[in-house]
């Protein structure tokens, strides 16, 4: 199982929030990449969280980060057409993350896969729990997670990222019912994010063969009991236990 740190960025700086809000400043994103190089992380997910941003500037940043990083990077946020996806991948991203865009445009998934291969495409769903149900909010529309996963199973992409909005930044642990629900119906590589508590939880999750990766924000961004903003990762011993090598 892969353990993948998450960096949210705007204006070349990285942040971490709770429930997708109240973002805390973590530092210059290039500096974070250099620190993560030393940790030899499995991969990195980078999401642009600006509502509106200059795509040209963002591409420059992707190029710089890709040039600097010793690990694979997945780039998401604002990817809404093939031309832009292509530029992100050609600027060195290893994978592209599509989110709400796919509700309007399933074709985009095929367009990217045909050129770059299905291993270059991930789809991220922001999930909210509503009682016993799991829903995706797209503007004013509520979509059942079950329906959406069944539709996505037929598309040519590799990774399904399930991001639990309700648990984001909470460090309460992953919603195990959500994990079970998704792994039962999804035919893709399944990655989860939202609420990772500690290393013991990651170790336990790593025994579940249907989980391909865990994306970790707060646990790797805020250090110790004082939750000091300081990017870090697993030590070598912990990596060995998770990767089982």
């Amino acid at each position: 199982m892969r353990i993948i740190p998450l960096l949210l960025h705007k204006n070349n700086n990285s942040f971490k929030g709770v429930n997708y809000q109240n973002h805390i400043y973590l530092g210059d994103i290039l500096n974070q990449i250099r620190i993560l190089n030393d940790y030899e992380v499995d991969e990195l997910v980078i999401l642009n969280i600006e509502n509106e941003f200059n795509k040209k500037e963002n591409l420059k940043l992707v190029n710089t980060l890709s040039f600097e990083s010793d690990f694979a990077i997945s780039i998401g946020g604002g990817v809404d057409n093939f031309g832009y996806a292509k530029k992100i991948l050609n600027n060195g991203a290893d994978k592209i993350i599509l989110n709400s865009t796919i509700f309007k445009n399933f074709k985009l998934v095929e367009q990217i896969s045909n050129v770059y291969g299905s291993q270059a495409v991930s789809i991220k769903l922001d999930v909210i729990r509503d009682g016993k149900k799991f829903l995706i909010f797209n503007k004013n529309e509520k979509i059942s997670l079950d329906d959406l996963i069944h539709s996505l199973n037929n598309l040519n992409f590799s990774e399904l990222i399930i991001s639990d909005v309700s648990r984001d930044g909470s460090m309460k642990g992953l919603d195990t019912e959500l994990v079970e629900y998704v792994t039962k119906i999804s035919k893709k590589l399944n990655l989860f994010s939202g609420g990772v508590k500690n290393f013991d939880e990651l170790k336990k999750l790593s025994t579940n063969k249907k989980i391909s990766g865990i994306i970790v924000g707060t646990f790797f961004s805020l250090y110790g009991n004082l939750k000091t903003p300081l990017i870090h990762y697993l030590n070598d011993q912990q990596k060995k236990q998770i990767r089982k090598i």
Binding site: F71, G92, D94, S158
Partner: protein, 203 residues
């Protein structure tokens, strides 16, 4: 300072050339990214980058009329040609990914990795090389991201290195004369990747 070889990364309009260039420059080599036959010819090492489907990469190579340049380069034993991931796979005669005829630099074919469960493919993550020998340290793990695998014809006297994925032996790297194929991404494999890259370029 000792002589460092001239390296050309083949510009195919797709792929991981940014990250490969970054890692190679870290090793203090001079790197060009080009699709010009003259620049390719003048290089000591030619790299075919990965990330991209075999069908698309081959279409690009045909469109740019690079087949002859690549073949000529590969036949010159004083030079070295290296393919990464999809760049290695298109060195084969044929790939199932888009049912496409490839470069035929080595007698091999590329087929889809068969698994019991759909959620086991692609093979993504760090894996350990089984037979280490001189290219790999004791704990050499490298980053893989692929759905297809290369099968080299048994009669071909290539050095082959494998990983074990879902009880299948999957080719991780081969060396055949001056042709090097690397299924994984050394440019995305931390210090181990840099170490291997240095050995392959410097050998």
């Amino acid at each position: 300072m000792s002589y460092k070889k001239k390296i050309c990364i083949l510009e195919l309009g797709v792929g991981n050339f940014v990250s490969i260039k970054g890692r190679i420059e870290k090793l203090e080599y001079k790197v060009m990214i080009s699709d010009k036959p003259k620049i390719i010819d003048n290089s000591d090492i030619l790299i075919i980058p990965g990330v991209g489907s075999a069908k698309f990469l081959m279409k690009k190579i045909h469109d740019k009329k690079l087949i002859l340049s690549i073949k000529k380069f590969s036949k010159n034993k004083t030079k070295k040609i290296i393919g990464f991931c999809a760049g290695m796979q298109i060195m084969s005669k044929y790939s199932e990914e888009g049912n496409v005829k490839c470069l035929s630099l080595i007698n091999s074919k590329v087929i889809k990795i068969k698994t019991k469960n759909s959620w086991e493919i692609p093979n993504i993550g760090f894996r350990t090389i089984l037979n280490k020998k001189k290219y790999f340290k004791d704990s050499s793990n490298f980053y893989f991201n692929h759905s297809f695998k290369m099968i080299v014809n048994k009669k071909i006297a290539a050095k082959k290195f494998y990983i074990n994925y879902l009880k299948q032996k999957i080719l991780a790297m081969f060396i055949y004369k001056n042709i090097y194929g690397i299924q994984f991404h050394p440019e995305r494999s931390g210090k181990n990747g840099l170490d291997l890259l240095n050995k392959v370029l410097d050998n």
